[in-house]
Assembly symmetry: C2
Homo-oligomer: 206 residues x 2
Amino acid sequence: MSGDRTRPRRRSGRRPGNVDTKAAILDAARARFAELGFDKTSIRAVATDAGVDPALVHHYFGTKQQLFAAVVDFPADPEATLSAIDTAPVDELGATIVGAVLSVWDSPAGPGVVAMVRSMIAGETQLARSFLLQVVLERVRLRIATPQDDGHARVALVAAQMMGVLIARKIVGLEPLTSMPAATVVATVGPSVQRYLTGEIGTATA
Amino acid sequence: MSGDRTRPRRRSGRRPGNVDTKAAILDAARARFAELGFDKTSIRAVATDAGVDPALVHHYFGTKQQLFAAVVDFPADPEATLSAIDTAPVDELGATIVGAVLSVWDSPAGPGVVAMVRSMIAGETQLARSFLLQVVLERVRLRIATPQDDGHARVALVAAQMMGVLIARKIVGLEPLTSMPAATVVATVGPSVQRYLTGEIGTATA
């Protein structure tokens, strides 16, 4: 019974087969992402490890990025945020990123994000760190990389800025930042993020 | 014997009396700072609580700021950093602050600072938070406050920026920020800090 993981069993009411299959996919994906990282992990390999068809992985979890988000138990669907980053004009990326990140923090998913950052700081979640680096920051980096500057330093600076605002605003409770309206934070921090992304920053990693 | 805390006992070799007296002063100061905060705590009151002369508190611990640093077990003497902030030209405060903070992080005191920030994020050290707010940030704020803008939001933004760089560089290990030379970090982050302190930031707290 429990050995049949090749496809979800259809039953009326609760479907324990789906739960088993999803768990098997997540276990396989966790092992692959941990060992090989995001780029070198393929949906096909995860499906093979879990003994299911690749289409079923897509069916349950969507894209590889969404599968990674599920593995690290990311509390929100990152696609909403990341697609905003994909489509914003480059000179509005700073405000777009700050606005998108704040809207996740202030959503019902916010406490989950705070918990994830806390455990990342406590050194407990290597996979969450990889998710941040290989999925989120990479998506931003691709928007601003040039032949002269691969953008790695720029997106690391953006990540540092945003982590600092998260911690000051949501964890340490540093007033008046904690109760500052989101629009004010965007107006205030957005230009710093924009400068890190596209401005003169005194460093270039060719 | 142990009840005599009014002055340090002079002996050759080890001086347990000093240790007792210092501990009594620290206990009294910890209780006062926790209850009343930095501003409303006086060296005189601490001395009275500890049953010693105020001059002895100064003799052992220096200024009230240094006493607070000792209470929260701050791993460096903050005066070196804070006096640099006092004397820098206002339009060089950003680079001065980033440079001074980096030099503490990269000193033998660095791991202690990281540990303090970690426990602050874990919600364990209310007094360390008070020290940051009431001593360190207040000293910066006094340099940039104007009749139109009390500077509270500005120094909170600076604190958020610096915490983010600390965490990215020293805790999460976000490359290339972790191995970036200090001078490059100053050139890169300094202008953001300067903007938060004295630039147009889209907010004003009158």
